[in-house]
Symmetry: C2
Subunit: 386 residues, 2 copies
Amino acid sequence: MAFSERVARLKSSLIREILAAAQRPEVMSFAGGLPAEPMLPKVDWSGMPAGISQYGMSEGEPELRERIAAEARLLGVPCEASQVLVVSGSQQTLDLASKLFIDPGTEILVEAPTYLAALQSFQLFGADCITVPQEADGPDLEALRERLQQHKPAFAYLIPTFQNPSAVRYSEAKRDAVATLLDEFNVTLIEDEPYRDLVFDAGSATPIVSRLKRASWIYTGTMSKTLLPGLRVGYLIATPDLFPHLLRLKQSADLHTNRIGQWQALQWLGTEQYHAHLAELRDFYRQRRDAMQAALEEHFSDLADWQVPQGGLFFWLTLKQPLDTRSLLQPAMAQNVAFMPGEPFFTEPDANPGYLRLNFSHVEPARLGEGLRRLAAVVREAQGSK
Amino acid sequence: MAFSERVARLKSSLIREILAAAQRPEVMSFAGGLPAEPMLPKVDWSGMPAGISQYGMSEGEPELRERIAAEARLLGVPCEASQVLVVSGSQQTLDLASKLFIDPGTEILVEAPTYLAALQSFQLFGADCITVPQEADGPDLEALRERLQQHKPAFAYLIPTFQNPSAVRYSEAKRDAVATLLDEFNVTLIEDEPYRDLVFDAGSATPIVSRLKRASWIYTGTMSKTLLPGLRVGYLIATPDLFPHLLRLKQSADLHTNRIGQWQALQWLGTEQYHAHLAELRDFYRQRRDAMQAALEEHFSDLADWQVPQGGLFFWLTLKQPLDTRSLLQPAMAQNVAFMPGEPFFTEPDANPGYLRLNFSHVEPARLGEGLRRLAAVVREAQGSK
């Protein structure tokens, strides 16, 4: 069978394989990034107009695009509804951006670590990923300047607010500095913000795209983390030089995003009800984070270092004694514990051992201690046997 | 701005531009392929379980996959649920197949004419399209054998049942002959069947994939033409050598298809209620086809030749005196009439003038005569002025 050249670069999604294995009810799963089931809001479908069932516009529903643009302007993102493209979940933004920018060998710039499924999409299209180390408050600026001097990436893909997996939120200073550098070298920014609204402290920070003066940009968000993932409704907002191409790529990919999900999203986005839901969501997740922090201190303080995440869904643990955490998967699953190894979040997995991504939203607090106790024992066992 | 090489091949969808222009209520549009609004069934969302809002499996909902496989087996397609991938409308099948098979310069085989949006997807990825002329009962078999002898296409993309745009349904004999040829040359078949259920006579024919003995295949269908396009739910069924790759490409494209649409599709597919709905749909469209046939005979019998379509949504007119029908668009729109020029359905549009695709499902019979009278006048005017 003669497949395309790109199929050789097509990797299975390790995370989805782990998630599939973690479906058994007895498994305590720290692996996924799923919203907690009890916090999925009850939704009402009764008012949906029948006409919504017909084919729709590739751009998305006009009223929803207006709402998304209005919400983005509140964050300081300068945009009109005409720059909004509703997509089938923000994963599709990565697919469309890959198609727009990447030929085999095209250089792009990503954080190290970065979002696994973004790496997969970029690499599928043949990207050569230049990486910038992630620090506690954002990227290493020296390294970023050096990379931009030595390379001409087609775009920089950044997740500045509660990055998956590292939970890092860029500081105000680094946001400004990154914007200045991207403007200076005129490099397009793709800013991915699925977790912005899942914030547990008072602080946050405006998007980097709102600080750009010259560089083109794509800003992307989703309803999957705060409303309902099953809707498959996300969006991108792009500068006018990029938008028409992204729209045509969307037409070619799936004509348009499902309209029932778009209608439901419109019932929530920007409403009082939605803000109340977000407040509940933050309280719920903050409590789960705190419970996880307490359990981690009990079981992992001698094994790993971590920052307490101020948003998002994950703890990112750095083992004091690094080992390939993929080797822990099987013994952990034997103990009915699932987690996400850190290696696949790096372009060079083998060169970056010793990280674990632990989701704190899924496992109930009552089972948390037991789950982490077992996982710590698996780590200790592996380290002892080295 | 440095875009990927493929962006140079990214064409706007002429049909979607025409559709956008045809939105004005005063326009009589023969351009689209939209299901008739009055025939969109009323759907009930009240029983939908809340859990459906969570992330789902990339493969699709298990129960829906079982149902799709069962329905396909009734058509003679040998398959299990494990071979079914639910996609975000069957346009996505074209995107996934393009990714799986096409590098710049990859040869593929298509009918001439063929489905516009398929051509766009294949050409975006750089396919070199080998064409086989379409005859009244299917492809020119001599030409097909010759192409397969001289080329090694990565796949053959065929629409054997009420093709969009030509309305051709392959005869039994040609279905057998095509299957034999594809087996002989071991060429993968992608069989696209959106219109199979919209049949107006007693005859139909089993899919070509059910006749293959050796070649790999992808069979693709959709709920968009018979249930609700706005759901964006379609499916593909693939041989086991292709399926795992298509699944990973689906994960990378948008994680999974929206679950609310999948749930609704499951409420219909294979049920008594669905069969009753299909029967109504066929009656409705048959009447519209008959009204269109009568109006065409009145206004176009001296201008064009055509076959009466036995299924699908379109008449395909061959002008007796060929001209570039794209040049008719503007004068027709000035008369508030929209239609679809035939040229874009060919890989070499300029070499194939003189075809019009006319949808018969959208315009109400009361306005039909007036619309076709105006369109015929536009054709006459253009031919007279040559």
